[in-house]
Subunit: 152 residues, 2 copies
Amino acid sequence: MHKLSGISTKLQQDIKLAATKQNQHKRTRSDHATELTEDYVEAISEIIADAGVCRAVDLAQKFQVSHVTVNRTVGRLQRDGYVTTEPYAPIELTSVGTRLAKASQERHQLVLEFLLALGVSNATAITDSEGIEHHVSPETLRVMQKFIDSQK
Amino acid sequence: MHKLSGISTKLQQDIKLAATKQNQHKRTRSDHATELTEDYVEAISEIIADAGVCRAVDLAQKFQVSHVTVNRTVGRLQRDGYVTTEPYAPIELTSVGTRLAKASQERHQLVLEFLLALGVSNATAITDSEGIEHHVSPETLRVMQKFIDSQK
DNA sequence: ACAAAAATGTAGCACAGGCTAATATTGGCG
DNA sequence: CGCCAATATTAGCCTGTGCTACATTTTTGT
């Protein structure tokens, strides 16, 4: 290999193995849809908690996209069973959507707290946790939680 | 707010502010193209280092997509100035592509080492670093580096 | 109550990133 | 040399995620 200076031989074998199995990128790849779904249900849940109801404009503003884009995305969420909507009515979460939102929020907050505990600034921690949250496995989450606890 | 139990008032204000500025999701959103670009140049660089040349089939195998998809993606990379290709010839990186590949590899390795130093298992660290690497800001990278150093 | 403003919906466009099927090129080997 | 296997290209399809422009519906304020 190359450039893997500080890394053990065992790990290099693992990396080779992962590359051979080709199961790492597969996951990274097609999970963009899932990310968007999680972002949306998380946002919907927060907006409902804050404002009572969630309208498409709220999401459009939050994600900085047009309301048309929101509309179609929400349509997909409905198709996939995460939300319910009727024309000109607010968006509501299904029980499935609510569960997903809760899980996402908890994960998001854990990553945020972890970055803060690590010593990252507020602004950066907020930004980075947004991007990172979708890519952290349960195992890593547990390790992060342990780290947070150890810092208290 | 809600559910932000363990978090300071100041931070909650920052979160509100970030939400108001709406500058957090904007970034997360349209960076998928960048992610793919980084994954590709990184892979191309590695394959060239390992095998001497990089062919479309190698990338197809690595990313588990069809060679047709690789072809079109590489076309975009060429359009954007990261690689050069001629029909039926191997793929090569431009100087810009090489620089991006190097930077991505370094970041990737740093995140990987960080996760390992944190106590995550090899397999999980390999997988998670793939997903996380694209979402870590320079500040967080520096903090991660510091953590790695402190563990030695 | 009614006009203006806000919110939604619809039509139609673009591009990225995935695919299969069919075609073409290259390289190697008998 | 000629043919086969590997590789690359092309055509044509799909979905997701973005947009503008325009039409419609609801809400709101006087």
